[in-house]
């Protein structure tokens, strides 16, 4: 029987019992399409009322179970792993790197007659060299395993404002 056919007809007591067995005694938990018919039956049928009272007792027992609240630690750990946009670098670092980048580009493109792609590539290579040189001897004793090349790429990404989530 479709929901449309079921609508407006008295609900058989067997179906009412099945609804209580599955969903309990609270009407908001009952299937929407059958709720009105079930409530109508409940209002007039002593048998339905007895079944309903039994289901309500189990519901009431289940209500005694109270789950613990999440700890602050798990909330913090989850948020620590949340996606982030471009991270704000230390104050002044961006301007310094941007200035260095622009100065390099300006010098190279001026000297190379405006051949910007080649100039930019050369600039990247120079930055990598400078950054790699600056990190030699400082990473070996640290706890991070980051290589000089990775560190250099970070610098270049920062200078170019690469979006770390562009690949998503």
């Amino acid at each position: 029987m479709s929901e449309r056919e079921r609508h407006g007809r008295p609900m058989p007591i067997d179906r009412f019992a099945a609804i209580l067995d599955a969903y309990g005694a609270e009407p908001p938990r009952w299937p929407t399409a059958e709720r009105a018919a079930a409530q109508s039956l409940l209002a007039v049928s002593p048998e339905a009322q007895a079944l309903h009272a039994s289901a309500a007792r189990l519901d009431r027992l289940l209500t005694a179970s109270v789950a613990p609240a999440p700890s602050a630690a798990v909330r913090a750990a989850i948020l620590q792993a949340a996606p982030r946009g471009i991270q704000a670098p230390p104050s002044g670092a961006v301007e310094t790197l941007r200035g260095l980048w622009q100065a390099l580009l300006g010098t190279l493109t001026g000297e190379l007659g405006g051949w910007r792609p080649a100039g930019a590539a050369l600039g990247v290579a120079l930055l990598l060299g400078v950054a790699a040189g600056g990190t030699v001897g400082t990473q070996s004793s640290g706890t991070r395993s980051t290589t000089a090349a990775e560190e250099s790429v970070d610098f270049v990404q920062l200078a170019l404002f690469d979006d770390a989530y562009a690949e998503f």
């Binding site: 099945a18 309990g24 938990r29 009952w30 009431r60 179970s65 789950a67 909330r75 949340a82 946009g85």
Partner: protein, 215 residues
């Protein structure tokens, strides 16, 4: 784009309308209440991430706790669930499941995986031991009731327990709970009925005493 759950499966068809029933059965798409937050998260908005966590974390931990009986494991499941959510958030597209439905489905699957592993290594339920701190009067009685109910819940077969946790405790509508469990509504009803019948049997002998504890 297909939305996939934690196991890489495509999340199935969407709920149809129905009040709690209806509320929970909303299609995803633009009506998904989490969609504005997901868009902000994709843009790297940390406040939106915190808002999403505050909206759902308590319910996911509660689900895990009732499925696994352990707060520590429940929090592990919640953490894994949100890690997967963070992976999905930047590419989330409306039109499939509601985000909350997807989140529940990932959490339920993670719980079932853990229960499966427990079986494989022959572990009994790894629930938290009952607290032994003293509580006076009614509080003590209520705690006793809660512990007996939780113990009975833990004795249910896993899928019956999942159905009852989703419908009774998480208050999902029947269509949404069925979608989370990837079953039809009739199959869900069967699991619910068998689960509630078993709970009634387990608690029958203690019913009067338990009810007294709740009065």
């Amino acid at each position: 784009m297909a939305i996939r759950d934690g196991n890489g499966d495509i999340l199935g068809s969407e709920p149809t309308p129905g009040d709690r029933g209806q509320r929970s059965a909303e299609q995803g798409g633009e009506s998904d209440p989490d969609l504005p937050l997901l868009r902000r998260i994709a843009a790297g908005d940390g406040a939106a991430s915190a808002a999403l966590v505050d909206r759902h974390l308590g319910r996911i931990v509660a689900l895990g706790w009732r499925m696994l009986g352990s707060r520590a494991e429940a929090e592990d499941v919640a953490q894994d669930t949100f890690l997967r959510a963070w992976q999905q958030a930047p590419g989330w597209r409306p039109g499939g499941a509601r985000f909350a439905t997807w989140l529940h489905r990932v959490a339920v699957n993670l719980c079932l995986d853990r229960l499966r592993r427990r079986r494989e290594v022959g572990l009994d339920a790894a629930g938290d031991p009952p607290a032994d701190d003293a509580h006076p009067g009614t509080v003590l009685q209520q705690r006793a009731v809660a512990e007996r109910v939780d113990a009975a819940l833990a004795l249910l077969p896993e899928r019956q327990r999942a159905a009852i946790v989703l419908c009774h405790f998480q208050e999902l509508g029947n269509v949404e709970a069925a979608a989370v469990m990837e079953i039809g509504v009739e199959a869900l009803e069967s699991l619910l009925a068998r689960g509630r019948r078993r709970l009634r049997e387990l608690l029958r002998g203690e019913s009067a005493d338990l009810m007294g504890g709740l009065e």
